[in-house]
Symmetry: C2
Subunit: 189 residues, 2 copies
């Protein structure tokens, strides 16, 4: 069965909402953290630069959507900041243990969007990695490994090649779906 | 019961999708056509200027959402063009017969998004007005009436004051909802 490619930025509230619900999808899922800022940069734009849209998302819509699935949203400290640390940690963990990478991603997301931890803080990403069984010093070193840094650069480039322009973004056999509210539109297997 | 303020641009595919479904809402609805371009201009941006997003909306998502409610989308000729003519015609008709203004809006929307007629073409808006019982010469004159032109300018300004930044946009007791997929989130009366 064709897996769903699930692209998400850890700094994205709707990416968080999708991550909390995606286990309900009747397909295998390939988790792919990326940096939405890197994608936007190629188009000379930035996400949520429209002030009304930013306020609407953070103060009205994302908390409302989260409440509908029983979650109380907390905006990460310093939002919007990059999510380099958890994205790199994800790919470092995935090399060793793919299933644990998904557990890490869910836990990191909960730290950012339920506890309000800063997405740019490497210590927070390390905490999440430790909680799923990894050594703190090892994961902190892994985030700084040149090969892992390059891996994230490649994943961002792959996202751009595939037409990903938002978070969350889903691809099934190349068909694009943007937004947590489009998970219900994914083709049934 | 508090009515839903329903803001929409005739050139917006999701505004069309909302207009085709809004009768299912258990509240009175105040229809408010506006020009999304006028709103964006105040922020120095334009809707769908991101090429990937525009392609996604027109070629993937909006047709898919329309199919889910049994409609075959056709993109208006010359899209994106302004929708001055139907917006002005709406307010001209509404002054005389509010219920007929809604019938006009639905019919105009079908001409744009099911038949692919140009939103900027005054003759198309006049056709829709004639079909709901108005005199062609009268509605064409009404669209050019300085008072009606000013009315649309005022409605655009009111939309901006209320924080409307997209189409469709719904307000219930001041609470904002953006997107046809948020109609299901409107508070139940």
């Amino acid at each position: 069965m064709t897996p769903v490619e699930f692209y998400f930025d850890f700094a994205s509230p709707y990416g968080f909402i999708a991550a909390m619900q995606i286990d309900a999808i009747a397909r295998p899922v390939t988790w792919r953290p990326f940096l939405l800022g890197a994608v936007y940069k190629t188009f000379g734009q930035s996400p949520l630069e429209h002030p009304l849209k930013k306020n609407y998302v953070l103060e009205a819509d994302a908390p409302r959507v989260a409440r509908r699935i029983g979650l109380q949203l907390e905006v990460p400290a310093g939002f919007p900041e990059h999510a380099l640390a958890p994205s790199r940690a994800f790919y470092w963990i995935e090399e060793q243990d793919p299933a644990n990478a998904v557990a890490f991603a869910k836990l990191a997301y909960r730290k950012y969007w339920l506890e309000g931890c800063a997405t740019s803080d490497a210590a927070v990403a390390a905490d999440a990695a430790v909680a799923v069984g990894f050594d703190r010093a090892a994961v902190l070193a892994g985030m700084q490994d040149a090969r892992i840094k390059e891996r994230l650069v490649e994943e961002n480039a792959a996202a751009i090649r595939k037409g990903v322009f938002g978070s969350p973004f889903f691809l099934v056999d190349g068909e694009p779906f943007w937004g947590s509210d489009r998970m219900q539109h994914l083709p049934q297997p």
